[in-house]
């Protein structure tokens, strides 16, 4: 009996609604017979396996609240995933996604979405993505976004937004509408300026985080950043900066080149035929 089957049988026996199948060498859900009949499951963790496909039957697990698929080889998610009525936390980090399925934004109670370390960009998001009103944390680090759609402003409950190591050349001013945002990670992109609206947010309090290193900032921002994040925000809130920002936007040339080398990312490996 495989390690996976053993773990599955054990969980069934003790009626454990939280199923841990981490690092069990699983290639396919076919190695987990009966899993989709275990309707009592609230958490399913399949990190560090070699799964390529998520079957549509995943939607049978109607009590699923937490689904963790970190570090597999998933290239796409089934459309049916958006019908999981109780899914609150979805972690598909470190996979090979280059798009999200149609209708994904219909997930009714999704709170935490981790898409770290995939191959996603602004064209990978389905039309209703920003309908995910319940979202409080969105992890998009290590992807390929050059632009963040202005609809980001619709995610009113967002408290955490991670865009570390993408290819962003701009942050939309609508980010200033995310009044509950207290963590913003935009380090290692191609950003030169930030919209003054970001000054509306509380990103420098004792309960806030703003990470913005490794960007080709305009000199005044880079100078303030040397002294500290709070100085950057103070500066962004000033009239001087507003003037500089407007002039910069109207006169700026081509965006800075991409500098992140992503060729060695394991998410880039493509399945053969």
């Amino acid at each position: 009996m495989s390690k996976a089957r053993k773990a599955l049988a054990e969980a069934r026996e003790i009626k454990n609604p939280e199923l841990d199948l981490v690092d069990k060498g699983i290639h396919s859900f076919e190695e987990l017979p009966g899993l989709f009949n275990m309707l009592n499951i609230t958490r399913l963790t399949l990190s560090h396996n070699r799964i390529k496909d998520i079957p549509p039957s995943i939607a049978y697990l109607v009590n699923l609240e937490i689904l963790t698929l970190f570090n597999n080889q998933i290239e796409e998610l089934p459309v049916s995933i958006s019908s999981l009525p109780k899914l609150r936390i979805l972690n598909v980090g470190m996979n090979r996604l280059d798009s999200l399925p149609r209708g994904f934004g219909a997930l009714p109670v999704l709170e935490v979405l981790d898409l770290t370390y995939n191959n996603l960009n602004e064209n990978s998001l389905p039309g209703n993505f920003f309908m995910l009103e319940t979202l409080r944390a969105l992890y998009l680090g290590d992807n390929d976004f050059e632009v963040l759609p202005p609809e980001i402003g619709q995610l009113k409950n967002l408290q955490i937004l991670v865009l570390r190591e993408n290819d962003l050349i701009d942050v939309p001013k609508e980010i200033g509408e995310l009044t509950r945002l207290r963590e913003l990670h935009i380090q290692a992109n191609r950003l030169t300026v930030l919209p003054p609206e970001i000054g509306n947010l509380d990103l420098v309090g004792s309960k806030s985080i703003l990470k913005m290193d490794f960007n080709p900032w305009v000199t005044p921002i880079a100078d303030q950043l040397q002294v500290g994040i709070s100085h950057v925000i103070d500066y962004i809130r000033s009239e001087t900066y507003r003037y500089l920002y407007n002039r910069h936007i109207s006169t700026r040339g081509p965006p800075p080149p991409k500098v992140n080398d992503k060729s060695r990312k394991i998410s880039r490996i493509k399945q053969q035929g």
Binding site: R43, D114, G228, K265
Partner: protein, 416 residues
């Protein structure tokens, strides 16, 4: 007393039977002294001026002539000797031979002549009615002359009430609101209805927007006392505690909260009510007679116990207290933090705080493999989320290199 009927037991001519009399119409029985008389007694009740008829009031209408006749009846002794040869039948004027003779009130009849003027049959049970000198059986008399009741439609024998353009049995002429018999009290016509004085006063008072006491039916001029769903004059009640007569400021106390029926409610004077310790709402300062919420060392109306931030009532939902104020879950978190990053619930007991976040004991775990962590477990950080050593080790080399680079570069944050 022996009772005989004219047709079955022959009567000696010498025995003249007596009749009782009345000043009014008589229903007669031919037999012995009849204690079973019915009387027609017309009361003419006028609506505008309620008329209380006196006993033996004179009759009205066409029947009065009969009354006259019988008002003059003489009492005839039971036994009297009469010379039969000179007597004639009151009906056919012939003399009598040796036969049964009927004697009524001094008049003599052949048995076959003593019959109903209408149907020519003997009077059943000897009962007859007399009108304008003729005698009728009960049936024909009623058909020809008796009034019928405007309510039940039956003939009215005995006392007749004439009112509202109709005749009534006394028991049938009633107040249309309270059903009290009106014959002896008079009545008032109110929009085509006959009402007693009280009900008429009520109708008038309600029309003027006044309350009517549920106990005495009188109009309440001052502020009414509400009690068990009705209104009353306050002076009908006494305080449950001290017994003083109540004023309209008395309080009705729902003595068993939550019960639907209010027939267990009690009344207290204002002073006793205040002394009883009825809880006072911490928000509106008014007594709480329904459900009481006790929190923050005070009592509250359910709808007045609200979040200090958004002012929405908790209505039984969980609230959180901080510095003497109560908050809803959302605002408690917004103001004071400590929502678990995983379950998003307020953390009640033990809190893990790290990486600008908080976790409840059950949910502090590696963000990648969901393995539980505790205070002693060493963990790594990635995007400000906890990562266990095993997971960190499994990161691809190029990713680890980048993480390391980022950590080296990040300026040390001043400890908060």
């Amino acid at each position: 007393m022996n009772e005989r009927k004219p047709d079955d037991s022959p009567l000696p001519p010498s025995e003249l039977l007596s009749l009782d009399h009345s000043q009014l119409y008589m229903r007669r029985k031919l037999t012995s002294s009849d204690s079973n008389l019915s009387v027609y007694n017309f009361d003419l009740l006028s609506d505008e001026n309620p008329h209380i008829p006196e006993d033996n009031a004179p009759l009205q209408g066409s029947f009065s002539s009969i009354v006259d006749t019988y008002n003059n009846l003489e009492y005839t002794p039971n036994s009297i000797t009469v010379d039969m040869s000179q007597k004639t039948c009151s009906h056919c004027k012939d003399g009598f031979s040796n036969e049964k003779i009927v004697n009524t009130n001094g008049e003599l009849w052949h048995t076959q002549c003593f019959v109903c003027a209408q149907c020519f049959r003997p009077f059943p049970e000897g009962i007859y009615y007399e009108f304008e000198g003729r005698k009728y059986c009960e049936h024909d008399f009623q058909v020809l002359f008796a009034p019928y009741c405007g309510k039940c439609g039956e003939f009215v024998i005995g006392r007749v009430i004439k009112a509202m353009n109709a005749n009534w049995h006394p028991k049938c002429f009633c107040c249309e609101m309270c059903n009290k018999q009106l014959a002896d009290y008079g009545f008032i016509r109110n929009q085509g209805r006959a009402l007693c004085h009280d009900c008429n006063a009520q109708v008038k008072a309600v029309g003027l927007g006044k309350h009517v006491c549920h106990k005495c039916h009188g109009v309440i001029d001052e502020k009414p006392l509400r009690f068990r769903g009705e209104v009353y004059h306050a002076y009908h009640f006494n305080c449950t505690a001290c017994g003083t007569e109540l004023k309209s400021d008395a309080r009705e106390v729902k003595s068993r909260p939550g019960l639907l029926a209010n027939d267990v409610n009690e009344l207290y004077c204002l002073r006793c009510h205040d002394k009883m310790g009825i809880p006072i709402c911490g928000a509106c300062r008014r007594p709480i007679e329904e459900r009481v919420v006790t929190a923050l060392g005070k009592h509250w109306h359910v709808e007045h116990f609200v979040c200090a931030k958004c002012e929405k009532p908790f209505l039984g939902h969980r609230h959180y207290e901080k510095k003497g104020l109560a908050y809803c879950e959302t605002h408690y978190h917004q103001l004071f933090g400590n929502l678990c990053f995983v379950c998003n619930q307020v953390i009640q007991v033990d809190v893990f705080t790290a990486l600008n976040k908080a976790w409840c004991v059950h949910h502090f775990a590696c963000s990648i493999c969901d393995q539980k962590l505790n205070q002693k477990t060493k963990f790594y950080e990635c995007d400000e989320k906890p990562v266990c050593k095993k997971c960190n080790d499994k990161f691809p080399a190029e990713f680890k290199r980048r993480l390391r680079k980022a950590h080296q570069y990040t300026p040390q944050r001043a400890p908060v």
